[in-house]
């Protein structure tokens, strides 16, 4: 067939898979596919880790997840504990556990019930601890806290560094990344997908992976399947350095909180309170009435923090699904399309495993993990 003479490198290299979205999930899919010799092209509309993947709280948490996610989170945790072997970088991962504190007996009873429910399913990573052990683990916790649910293998990592490490390793194994390449149009041409970028380039591959996060519904819409995601902007704030006083990541059972101290002494305060997201402008606006709710929670739970100074606050842009669990798995309408998006503000820990699941689906036609609850078909009319 006659064709214009393309640049030499392009004439040889054609991707097997196009991944849309250079967040952690897109990079993880690219890495796992590249490890199996699959040629991957990642198209990222901004730059890698520009949004939620680069600016989230960095919690690596099994604790308190929807039961549908538990098998995945446990499998992902195993990868996190050997993350250096996977991506040649420790990603700043430290494991000092995560806990969710109870401020009264009723909340503690709720935590007991949760732990029992997980045990009944065969999972033992969440345990209830009493006031004495809570004091041992978190000496700075306010006196009124009566206990906590703890997941000892949990921890935290540095989000941008992690996503970047996945990208670097994927590139080292042959994946290609195009940044500043938004996807304008996706069409099926014969037995391949043709992806047209906002810059006017066209790429073709038999397989398409949609990891477009807060923009994934627009890709899904072109495939004729609804993805009723909500675009959200969870807010975080960070303090100036204070002397080290806490190792685990702490949440609360009765209110929204994610609280952790970095090795450099700064303290990150988050927990999912929302600002405003303007996704077409890549912009978020903070809502200080909500930020102040978060500050009051910290005031109550960590008296030692009352004099701390807040130096910065921010919000990333994420997708939240109506049922708060992600979309993972094959398209419900199209051949050769797989989704991984809508992690609803808790996708960071799942990054390593979901990339592997996507690679399994593409290279082996299936996965050992139970992903049926995450099928996009649940939103079909």
């Amino acid at each position: 067939m006659a064709s214009p003479t393309p640049a030499p490198s392009m004439s040889i290299w054609k991707p097997d898979v196009i991944v849309i979205g250079g967040g952690l999930h897109g990079c993880s899919a690219a890495l796992h596919l590249s490890m199996r010799g699959v040629r991957v092209l990642v198209l990222e509309k901004d730059h890698v880790a520009r949004h939620a993947s680069g600016v989230n709280a960095g919690g690596v948490r099994q604790l308190g997840r929807d039961v549908a996610e538990v098998p995945l989170t446990v499998a992902s945790m195993a990868l996190w504990h050997r993350i250096g072997e996977l991506v040649d970088d420790d990603c700043g991962f430290e494991s000092h556990g995560q806990l969710k504190v109870a401020e009264n007996e009723a909340e503690l009873a709720g935590l007991e019930a949760r732990a029992a429910a997980l045990r009944a399913l065969g999972f033992h990573h969440e345990e209830v601890i009493g006031q004495a052990e809570l004091r041992d683990l978190v000496p700075a916790i306010a006196g009124h806290c009566v206990g906590a649910l703890v997941s000892r293998g949990d921890g935290a990592a540095i989000p941008f560094r992690t996503t970047f490490a996945f990208r670097r390793k994927a590139i080292a194994l042959g994946a290609r990344f195009e940044e500043g390449a938004g996807v304008a149009r996706v069409v099926r041409v014969g037995d391949v997908w043709s992806v047209e970028t906002t810059g006017g380039d066209r790429h073709e591959a038999p397989i398409l992976v949609n990891c477009a996060g807060a923009w994934a519904d627009r890709i899904a819409a072109q495939l004729g399947e609804p993805a009723p995601l909500e675009v959200i902007a969870p807010m975080l704030m960070i303090t100036a350095r204070v002397p080290p006083f806490i190792k685990p990541v702490v949440g609360a059972s009765g209110r929204t909180l994610s609280f952790k101290q970095f090795p450099n002494g700064t303290v990150l305060i988050g927990g999912g309170l929302l600002g405003r997201a303007v996704r077409d402008e890549n912009r978020t606006e903070l809502d200080f009435s909500q930020v102040s709710v978060n500050a009051r929670t910290v005031w109550d739970l960590f008296p030692v923090m009352r004099g701390a100074t807040i130096v910065r606050s921010w919000a990333g842009i994420e997708a939240r699904m109506p049922d708060q669990i992600p979309v993972i798995g094959p398209s419900g309408t199209q051949p050769g399309v797989f989704h991984a998006f809508g992690f609803s503000a808790h996708g960071f820990q799942l990054g390593p495993i979901v990339g592997r699941i996507t690679a399994d689906l593409i290279t082996r036609g299936g996965t050992d993990l139970p992903i049926q609850p995450f099928h996009i078909g649940r939103f079909a009319a």
């Binding site: 100036a240 405003r276 200080f288 500050a295 005031w299 004099g307 807040i310 606050s313």
Partner: protein, 480 residues
């Protein structure tokens, strides 16, 4: 209660803010002037009412001109809230009860945070010293000339011991002159102005010759040169010492290294717009190649890309104190028009004398910008030099991040934490931009600048936890 507390909030009480607030209030806008310092004046007229330096010859007539801006402010009826730190400007979730568009200002006063609702914000946030990263600049005993000048103005303090000034730009010479007048001894001035700058600046000389700077500047320069040893053409500079500064090592041209014993080194290489608040508010900004800095994008009237937010003075691009004053009045007239107090024709007519004065004040600026453009090596230093002081990130680390694929300051920030400390990039932003641009071989315009976030100035958790405060709370704060 109406949907807002004031028609206009002016942020910053330097020349632009003082002039703008006085004009807006005198023409009937309810106006509040917010400023961090305990008294009006900004940096240029710092401590103008209270300075212990009563001998007017020391700080000079340009400084004392600031006092003339205070009377009109007092007479205008504008509320003046000194000691007030603004940490955020944003559109509220819902617009005012009367349907008008409003802006919400997050501020701290006397240890209490509050939200203030206004119809328009005029930022007069002034300038910051351009960072001057050299090896050893974090040693005690090394400080910015601007900081030293503030000590002189507000406390009458001059350095004791062996003192050296180094760098380039008008402020360096002004400070030297003020020190001499105050009776301080200067051991040397190390002039880092690149010798090639003269050639580039020469075509711009005619305009400068008609500028108000010429006479004053020349006199001041000659007086300093007569009394202080000036070492020209310094191309390499570092500070040394164990725990504190003890020596300055420099080279003149491509000559051998020289060593000067010193207790204080004052560094200066010009000023850049203090754009943190505008940036965090979402105002578009553009790279100014002549001034080698980012500036918020404004129209002829100081209006930014964000509706209801204007900028005047050095915060919108360096023009100096006199230009700032006139630009403040021009911007205030536009606010009067936007808020329906005057029609367009009246605005245009009233602006004519201020525009003429502004143009006079800016004459010769391009010559100064070109002549005093800092050398490449002092804008994008060698690998071992710290660029981000808060997080101790070196220029080499930034270059390594670029090689790993970080294409701009925001990726470098996420990767290295540079710009994440309490100063929010004030001390490293320009340098990180320049280092990345040079490493990639592109213009800083292409690599961009930090996306900054509120709080633009640190606030305590206690203050945040006590939000939201009502307008009544704010008024109560005001009465204290």
């Amino acid at each position: 209660m109406s949907g807002h507390d004031f028609d206009l909030a002016v942020i910053g009480s330097g020349p632009a803010g003082l002039a703008a607030a006085a004009l807006a209030a005198s023409r009937g806008l309810s106006t509040v002037l917010l400023d961090e310092q305990p008294e009006a004046g900004g940096q240029i007229y710092r401590a103008i009412t209270e300075t212990p330096v009563r001998d007017r010859h020391v700080l000079g007539p340009d400084y004392w001109h600031g006092a003339e801006l205070l009377g009109p402010l007092r007479d205008s009826g504008a509320a003046h809230w000194p000691g007030t730190t603004v940490w955020s400007v944003a559109r509220p979730r819902e617009d005012g009860a009367d349907g008008g568009r409003t802006l919400q200002i997050g501020l701290s006063r006397n240890g209490t945070a509050a939200m203030l609702t206004v119809r328009h914000v005029l930022m007069a946030t002034g300038a910051l010293e351009r960072p001057f990263p050299i090896p050893g600049w974090t040693l005690p005993g090394v400080l910015g000339a601007g900081a030293a000048q503030i000590l002189l103005k507000s406390s009458g303090l001059v350095p004791s011991g062996r003192t050296v000034l180094a760098g380039t730009g008008p402020l360096l010479w002004l400070l030297a002159w003020q020190y001499l007048r105050a009776g301080a001894a200067l051991d040397a001035i190390l002039d880092t102005t690149p010798r090639g700058n003269w050639r580039a600046a020469l075509p711009l000389l005619p305009a400068f010759l008609r500028s108000p700077y010429l006479g004053k500047g020349a006199k001041l320069l000659l007086e300093v040169r007569r009394k202080v040893k000036v070492i020209d053409g310094v191309t390499d500079l570092r500070a040394e010492g164990e725990g504190k500064l003890s020596a300055i090592v420099y080279r003149q041209g491509d000559g051998a290294e020289q060593r000067l014993a010193a207790d204080t080194l004052l560094l200066h290489q010009g000023v850049v717009p203090n754009l943190n608040l505008a940036n965090a508010t979402g105002c578009a900004q553009n790279w100014d190649e002549t001034q080698r800095c980012w500036r918020p994008t404004t129209d002829d009237w100081g209006a930014t890309s964000v509706e209801g937010v204007s900028l005047a003075g050095d915060g919108a691009g360096i023009g100096g104190a006199l230009a700032a004053e006139h630009a403040g009045r021009v911007a205030a007239l536009d606010v009067l028009h936007r808020l329906g107090r005057i029609d367009r024709a009246e605005r245009d007519r009233a602006a004519v004398p201020h525009r003429e004065a502004l143009e006079r004040a800016l004459r010769g600026r391009a010559f100064l910008d070109t002549l005093y453009r800092p050398a490449d090596i002092f804008r994008a230093p060698a690998d071992d030099t710290i660029v981000c002081r808060c997080e101790e990130v070196t220029a080499g680390a930034v270059r390594e991040a670029v090689r790993l694929g970080c294409s701009g300051p925001n990726q470098a920030k996420s990767f290295l934490r540079c710009g994440m400390g309490p100063c929010q990039g004030r001390l490293c932003g320009p340098t990180v931009t320049e280092v990345i641009a040079a490493e990639r071989g592109v213009s800083p315009a292409e690599v961009g600048y930090y996306r900054l976030r509120p709080p633009v100035k640190p606030i305590t958790l206690a203050e945040l936890a006590a939000l939201p405060k009502s307008a009544a709370d704010i008024a109560a704060v005001d009465k204290h």
